[in-house]
Amino acid sequence: MTEPVVEIVRLSKRFGAGVLAVDDLSFSVSQGQICGLLGPNGAGKTTCLRALLGLIRPSAGETRLFGEKVKPGSDQLRRLGALIETSAFVPHLSGMRNLRLWWEAGGDKWADADLEQALAIADLGTAIDRRVKTYSQGMRQRLGLARVLLGRPEVLVLDEPTNGLDPGEMREVRQLVRRVAEGGATVLFSSHVLAEVEQICTHAVVMDKGRLVAAGSVDDLIGAAGAVYLEVDDVATARRVLESMPAVLHVDDEAPGLAVSVDGARRSELVAALVQAGVAVETVTARRRLEEAFLGLVEAF
């Protein structure tokens, strides 16, 4: 078990008008995880991320990065790259000047920035020297991602990073997140696009009304209430083996395989039992998608 890189510890945030945006929220993200932060609008996701970045003061609890409490201007923010909601820049300056000023404001030398990667991500060509106010939303978002990566961050915090991007750009962002995570970075990723989270996240945290609904690996969350789809070489034997297992609630035909409702059993246990009975398992997946799991969790909350 690696040490958590990001920790949200009993975080609560009440705004002036008495609105409780985050209520006693706790979760952690470990090194190398790509963690999706899910929740309906108003669930408190952005508030949680802002507290993590020191932009808002928690009413109670705290946030930690690399084991240290986050305060405004904390030095550990240097090891983090973040994109909160839309990308924003000084509109009358060029993309390049914006990157440079933002980098140098932190007291870092421009020569130390990973400009090559940033420019590759931004993919703006000669437009990088144009004023940002002439950019499209997609160009701004790409420049924002470039800014995030200038410092080779160990933690990426991305709040709806594919907003305003076309499908091709969205795919590039997903590939980028994977690539950064493969390099050892930890990613906390908020998105409304559940298929996107399912594709790239290893873990997920589900929030609603400011509170934690569920947290764990994406596989566990999808399978937690769940059903498993199996394709085997001998359906009849497989059905008999599965129905004999106490944790299996029922088995339904779902050609060409079987849909198995389970209560507490892990997929690996089902597969082990089938293999022991001489049944070859060709496919085993969660029958539900993350969207179904998410809606089920939130509605039950």
Partner: protein
């Protein structure tokens, strides 16, 4: 080191902005228009203000006249613009949160932005004076104040006038720093830059109005604009008024008060924009 880096980035943001140059351009234009107008329609010694009449006699006084006129309105708007836009402007772009995601303490950021706002405001004041001096010298010459004028306002050599003009420029710049500080304080509290700019302008005019109500008695002595024009006799007569020291002290209090409230507020502020 870090403060210097933040200062530099804030200065670049302001100095690469069109509105900064539009403001300075207007400040340059006013003395030019005044010089042309005075040259075409010379004032009457009996019916016009002393400063205006002196400005028509020697170009060295034209910048003082321009300073007096602009500091009553246009300069107030310009300095309030620099103060009010400093933080609220950045917030309205949505860029403030990204600056604060850098390891920059909020106190340093506020300090850097305030220093740059004050610097830009002072440059605006200096622009009026330098332009006035150049245009005044070209149109009206650089004669000292000698007879027969000196019989009425006292003699002043060219060096004296320039020295007094320098002191007056610093005094006006410092007096307007209170307006910058108030706009800046409001800028720390809001995401609407125009609100902060108008707050600064509003403070100035409210103070002017209250200062004209003599029945307010001693309260008028602590109004931010009460000593604004205490410098005029220094330029026109070469006389130093103790009111100038009072003005300097009063502004010091206001500048510290407004800047510290702004800092206190911003350090506790939830950045949501």
């Amino acid at each position: 080191m870090l403060t210097a880096a933040v200062l530099r980035t804030e200065l670049v943001k302001n100095m690469r902005r069109t509105r900064t140059y539009v403001a300075y351009g207007i400040m340059m234009l006013i003395p030019i228009i005044m010089a042309v107008a005075i040259d075409l329609n010379p004032p009457d010694v009996r019916g016009e203000g002393r400063l205006l009449y002196l400005a028509s006699q020697t170009g060295l006084i034209l910048p003082a006249f321009a300073l007096r006129i602009t500091s009553a309105f246009l300069l107030v708007i310009v300095v309030a613009l620099f103060g009010g836009d400093a933080i609220a402007g950045e917030a309205s772009w949505g860029n403030l949160r990204y600056i604060l995601m850098r390891p920059v303490a909020r106190g340093r950021l506020v300090l850097a932005k305030f220093v740059v706002a004050v610097f830009c405001a002072w440059v605006a004041v200096a622009t009026v004076v330098v332009t006035g001096l150049v245009v005044g010298a070209i149109v009206f010459g650089t004669d000292p104040i000698g007879p027969p004028l000196s019989l009425f306002v006292g003699a002043q050599s060219t060096g004296d006038i320039l020295a007094h003009l320098g002191v007056a420029t610093v005094y006006v710049a410092w007096s307007l720093t209170g307006v910058v500080a108030f706009s800046f304080m409001v800028s720390c509290m809001t995401d609407a830059p125009f609100g902060a700019i108008f707050a600064g302008v509003g403070l100035y005019f409210t103070s002017l109005i209250l200062d004209s109500i003599s029945s307010l008695g001693n309260i008028r002595y602590v109004l931010p604009t009460h000593y604004f024009d205490a410098w005029v006799d220094l330029v026109t007569r070469g006389e130093w008024h103790s009111d100038m020291w009072r003005g300097v002290g009063l502004q010091l209090g206001y500048v510290l008060l407004f800047a510290l409230i702004g800092l206190w507020w911003f350090k506790r502020k939830d950045v949501l924009s």
